[in-house]
C-alpha cells in the first residue's frame, strides 16, 4: 500500500535538506565553479567549521550558528592563506591542474587525520533548545533542526547572488572567472580578486559546518560523504551559477530523501555520486551551463 503521507513527508524533508545542501555547496560553487580551482579539501574545511562550533558550544555554551557566523573572518583569512600558497606553488608555475589537485587531496587528508587525532572518532553533535522543536502542517512534520539550516542556506544563496551581481568585488570575481587577462588589462589584479573569492568560499564553510553539526552527528571522516554531494551539486548546477546551485541542491535533497524513505538510508549516498557520474558523463555543462 503506497502511503501519500510518507511521500509528502519525504518530499518536505528533501526540500529542507536541499536548502542545507545549498549552504554546504556555495563555497565550492564559488571556488571550483567560478575560479576553476579543484579544491577537494572544501568538505574538510566544512568539518573544521563543525568542530569549531562543537568546541565553543561544549566549552562556553555558545550557539553553534552564531559561532559559525562569528568565525567567518577567521575562515576567510585561512582561505586567503591557502590560496596564496596554492598560487605561489602551482598557479604561477602553470601546473595547477594535476599537482594542485594532489595538493588539495593531501590537505583534505591532513585535516581529516589531524581532527581524528585531536578529537577521536566519536560522533559529535550540538544540541540547543530551539533546534530540537518541531511544528506540524496537516500530517507533515517539520523539524527546526532542518528548517533553520534550510532558511540560512537560502539566505546565504541570496546574499552571495546579490554580492556577485551588485557589488564591485562581486562583479570583479565574475570577471576573473570569464577572462583573467582582460581583467588585468582593466587595471585590476586578478590574484587579489581570486584571493578574496577563495577566502569567501572558505568562510562559507564555517557557517555550513555549524549547520552540519546541528543537523546530524559528525566525525572527522564525514567530509568524504560531502565530496560527492558538493561536486554533484556544482556540476549539476552549471559550474558557478548561484541560482543553479540552489536548484541542484534541492533536487539532490529530494532524490536522496525519497531514496532513503523507500529503499533505506544506506543507498542515499550512492545517489549523489550516481547523479554526479551521470551529470559528468551526459551533460558536463549542468542545468544552467555557462
Amino acid at each position: 500500500m503506497f502511503s501519500w503521507d510518507l511521500l509528502a513527508n519525504a518530499v518536505v524533508a528533501g526540500l529542507l535538506l536541499g536548502g542545507f545542501y545549498a549552504a554546504v555547496s556555495l563555497g565550492i560553487s564559488l571556488i571550483f565553479g567560478l575560479l576553476d580551482i579543484a579544491n577537494i579539501a572544501q568538505p574538510a574545511f566544512v568539518i573544521v567549521g563543525s568542530y569549531a562550533a562543537y568546541v565553543l558550544h561544549d566549552a562556553y555554551g555558545f550557539d553553534p550558528i552564531l559561532t559559525g557566523i562569528l568565525l567567518t573572518p577567521v575562515f576567510y583569512l585561512l582561505g586567503a592563506l591557502v590560496y596564496r600558497i596554492y598560487y605561489a606553488s602551482f598557479e604561477r608555475r602553470g601546473d595547477e591542474a594535476l599537482r594542485g589537485l594532489v595538493f588539495f587531496f593531501g590537505l583534505l587528508f591532513i585535516i581529516e587525520v589531524s581532527l581524528s587525532m585531536k578529537y577521536g572518532v566519536d560522533y559529535r553533535l550540538v544540541q540547543t533548545g530551539y533546534l530540537s522543536r518541531s511544528i506540524e502542517f496537516g500530517g507533515v512534520g517539520i523539524a527546526f533542526r532542518y528548517l533553520v539550516p534550510c532558511v540560512i542556506g537560502v539566505a546565504m544563496t541570496a546574499v552571495l547572488y546579490l554580492f556577485l551581481g551588485r557589488t564591485f568585488y562581486g562583479r570583479a570575481i565574475m570577471a576573473v572567472s570569464q577572462d583573467q587577462a582582460a581583467l588585468r588589462l582593466m587595471g585590476a589584479d586578478p590574484i587579489h580578486i581570486k584571493t578574496i573569492a577563495f577566502g569567501i568560499g572558505i568562510a562559507a564553510a564555517s557557517l555550513a559546518g555549524a549547520l552540519l553539526i546541528s543537523i546530524a552527528p559528525v566525525i572527522p571522516s564525514t567530509d568524504r560523504d560531502y565530496i560527492g554531494r558538493m561536486f554533484a551539486i556544482t556540476v549539476l548546477g552549471g559550474m558557478g551559477s548561484i541560482a543553479g546551485t540552489l536548484l541542484a541542491a534541492v533536487i539532490l535533497g529530494v532524490v536522496e530523501s525519497l531514496m532513503a524513505t523507500f529503499f533505506g538510508p544506506s543507498w542515499s549516498l550512492a545517489v549523489s555520486f550516481g547523479i554526479l557520474l551521470a551529470a559528468l558523463a551526459v551533460r558536463p555543462a549542468g542545468l544552467f551551463g555557462r
Binding site: V102, F105, V113, S221, S266, L280
Partner: protein, 311 residues
Amino acid sequence: MGRTVPALLVGLAVVAAGMVLVLVRVNPYFYFAGYVILQYVVIATAWNILGGYGGYVNFGTPAFFALGAYTAVVLIRSLKAPLPVLIVAGGLVAALLGLGIGYLTLRLRGVFFSIATLALSVVLQTIIMNWEYVGGSRGLSILRPSGPPFGNYGVFLFTVMLGLAVVAVLMARFIERSWIGRGLAALRDNEEAAECMGVPTLRLKLFATTVSGFLLGVAGAPFPYYVTFIEPNSAFALDYAVNALAMPMIGGTTSWIGPVIGAVLLGTAQQVAIVTISSELNLLLVGVVLVGFVVVAPEGILGLVRRLRTR
C-alpha cells in the same frame, strides 16, 4: 630488446633474494609488514601507468583494489578457487572497470576525470555494503586454505606479493620504453597536439586504464587471505587513494623506478611509524610528505637527483 633481458634477470634475482629471506628465519612481523610494502609497490606502479605516464589522476584506487579483493571473496565462497585463479580473476574484473573509465576519458579530462573516479569508488562501496553475500557492511571472515606450498601462509603470501611486484614493475618498465610509453607521454603533455600528430590517443588511454586497473585488482586479490577478515571500510580505505598518489609523486612519476622508490620509502616509514608511534600519526606523515613534495619538489626524488647531477 637488448635491455629487457638484463631487467628480467634483475627481476628474477629479486624474487630469488626474497626466497632466501623466506628460508632464513626472521621475525614473522617482517613478512607481515613486508607484504604491505610490496602491495604498495604494485599499487603505486599501477597508478603511475595511468597517472604518471598518461597524466590522468585516478582518485579511485580503492575501487579497483577492493574490486580485486571482493572478486576473490566471491570465488573463495562459491568455488574455493586457488590463489592463482583469484589473482588472475581479480585482475581481469578490475581491468574491465578500467576499460570502463577509459571510455569515460572521452568526455572527461583533468579534474573532472579525477572527481568521477572518486565518485566511482563511493558508488562501488555502497553496492558492496548492501551485498550480503560478500559480508555487506558487517564484513566476512575468510579462512586461509590449509597447507601452503612452503613455510606458513604469511610467508607464502609475502613471496607471492614479491613476485607480483616484480611482474608489475617489469610491465611498467616495458610500457615506458615502448612506443606506448612515448605516446602516453605525448598525450600527457598535450592531448590535442598528440591527437593531431596521429597518436592514437583513445587506444592508448584505454590501454593505460585497463592495465592500471588490472594491476590494482591483482594487488587486491590476495588481500582477503592476508587480513582474513574483509569489510568495506578497510578494503575501500582512502589511505590507498592517498598512498597511490603520494608514492609516485615522492619518487618521481616519469620513470618506472619512481613509484618503487616512493613505495619502499613511504611504505617502510609508515610501517615503522605504526609500530613505534601510532597508526594515525603514520597517516598524517603520508599527507604531510605528499603536500610537502608536491609544493617543494614536484619532480620527486628522481627530479632532485637529476637536478643535482646537471649542476
